[in-house]
Symmetry: C2
């Protein structure tokens, strides 16, 4: 008991003061190796014949505090993002990287294959500079551009918004859930058991990684949208939506795969300003369909003996969150909720 | 004196033990903002009309130890690389990020504009998956593929080589020295005085940043090749080479700009296996031309009253270095030499 109190005091001290890092570094994990037919000619070395190309790996930056908790956290970003998602917030506060380090967790931040510092892709891509930020402002539920939602937990100064836009970074090859799943699974093989934290589009590879690799001891998904998986024969009807991606469909997978998701605790979080009923306001309705599908999915997991919880933050008194609850103005409160959930599930 | 000894002891302890971080985080700096003509239509939000696009910024991850030394180090990578250059080495040892943190320096690692996590580019780019790694093995002087140089300070196992290849990441927009210089200069404006450490292609923007911004208090350049600047009328003859980029030319700039480089200490390092005389071995000859041009350049800087030093590592007894001395097997020795130079110049 006294050791427990001592440990708590240390955590509190660390939350206020200097970060202690037992080990930090970076590496590539997963990926493919292509070899071009022919022989490499040292006198004609810009010819690809006989040369290799390594691509489709993930990049990982990790930090482990002294006396780290049992399970590290593995963070997988969403569409158009990189590991920056989990770092400093747009207005310069600490993100989940620092917050959970201070709570004593090892943290592993990924750039998924074909993104950020994991940019070597085995498939060709053309990147265009298409102005699209007012779309993202709205899609990510900061507000309905140019209006901010009245209660939004997002800073309203121009500099913060510019930082938020600049944290986007493009695909250097087409998004491929299987390529990402393979790399994330190999990360668990390399490091060992841990907790997978996903955001948005990362949710899909998150489910498939947990199915593929039993070293995933829990999944925490912030605002997943697509790729909710159901056992064959149990797919719900598509959920109609005025969102830009139209009706939301589930994904059918073999029951034996689905059952893997019933072996671990899973929590799914959604923020605020999501419609309760169908509406013509496309961003609010897009996320309504996501939240509804998440609830059908959790019901299916639990019907099969699993432990999946969907938390709509406003329902527990946490208001104003965007599509990025972990970097919103109240991200410490959001982090504390996750920490309490991890404790409740004996995962800390 | 006793305080000095105490500080030294603390450094030694930190070198062996836990990293102490007073502050760490990330942000975007510099860049442009494009606005598409027209009005944003909330009901047609995938139309670019009236929307904005932020791009051409640098991404920066920084860590500052407690009681940091006066000048932080700003690290700018070379061609095809990202900030990963300065992190964990291919064989899993600590890179300059950790080594200089442990020596008490704040470290700022950049992904230059249009690279890595700073991927939003204002110009379009097509990225191809062209096998080219045997070229890079040779160009970067690990050896003449498939042979390693006999004395090379590079690990010879397959896994390390794969990690080295996987740390490459492509341009998401054309390389543009001015765009990079602008972002790096704005980083100095934001953070304040510091020391700029460049690698290879980063050398060019390095010189121009030092010319543009007097908060650059010193430049450390590892194996710069192109963009050696000379005052108008003092350009040397191009240096012929059998290297793949042919003859190496200097760049003429106004004398008033050049003189900015004479106001700060500069050190330039080159590794091993560079030819002493012209040769048909193209990689050795490529870097021979770079080293020769560097020496002409340093002579010009010093003739104008500056303090530029070119160090060819084998000449001071440090053998076997590749194009990446800071991550080679002997990178602690390479770091210690830099630390001693910083001390000699009263920059630590």
């Amino acid at each position: 008991m006294s050791a427990h109190i001592h440990a708590q005091n240390k955590t509190t001290e660390m939350e206020r003061n200097v970060l202690l890092i037992e080990e930090q570094g970076s590496f590539a994990v997963g990926g493919k190796r292509i070899v071009k037919d022919g022989n490499f000619d040292l006198t004609n070395p810009l010819q690809p014949d006989g040369q290799t190309y390594h691509g489709d790996h993930a990049y990982v930056f990790y930090q482990v505090p002294p006396k780290a908790r049992k399970y590290p956290l593995f963070f997988l970003h969403g569409a158009g993002q990189s590991k920056k998602t989990w770092e400093t917030t747009a207005d310069g506060r600490e993100g989940f990287q620092n917050i959970f380090l201070r709570k004593g967790f090892g943290v592993y931040l990924l750039d998924q294959p074909r993104r950020g510092e994991a940019g070597r892709s085995t498939v060709e891509e053309t990147i265009k500079a298409t102005p699209d930020e007012q779309f993202w402002f709205t899609q990510f539920r900061i507000g309905n551009y140019p209006d901010y939602f009245p209660n939004v937990q997002f800073p309203k100064d121009e500099a913060s918004l510019a930082q938020f836009y600049r944290q986007m970074t493009p695909n250097t090859g087409a998004f491929d859930g299987k390529v990402i799943t393979d790399a994330v699974s190999q990360l668990f093989d390399k490091i060992g058991e841990g907790i997978l934290v996903t955001h948005s589009q990362g949710g899909g590879p998150g489910w498939f990684t947990a199915i593929k690799n039993d070293k995933v001891k829990a999944v925490v998904a912030y605002e997943p949208y697509s790729s909710f998986v159901f056992p064959e024969g149990e797919l719900p009807e598509p959920i109609q939506s005025t969102g830009l991606f139209g009706a939301l469909k589930g994904v059918e997978i073999p029951l034996s795969d689905f059952e893997k998701l019933t072996k671990i605790p899973i929590v799914v979080y959604y923020g605020d300003n999501i419609a309760k009923e169908p509406t013509q306001v496309w961003n609010k309705d897009h996320w309504r369909s996501g939240l509804e599908m998440a609830r059908l999915w959790a019901k299916a997991v639990n019907k099969h003996g699993g432990d999946a919880t969907v938390i709509h933050l406003p329902e527990i008194g946490i208001h104003g969150n965007t599509h990025f609850p972990f970097s919103d103005l109240n991200n410490r409160e959001v982090a504390d909720h996750l920490a309490a959930w991890l404790r409740e599930k004996s995962l800390d």
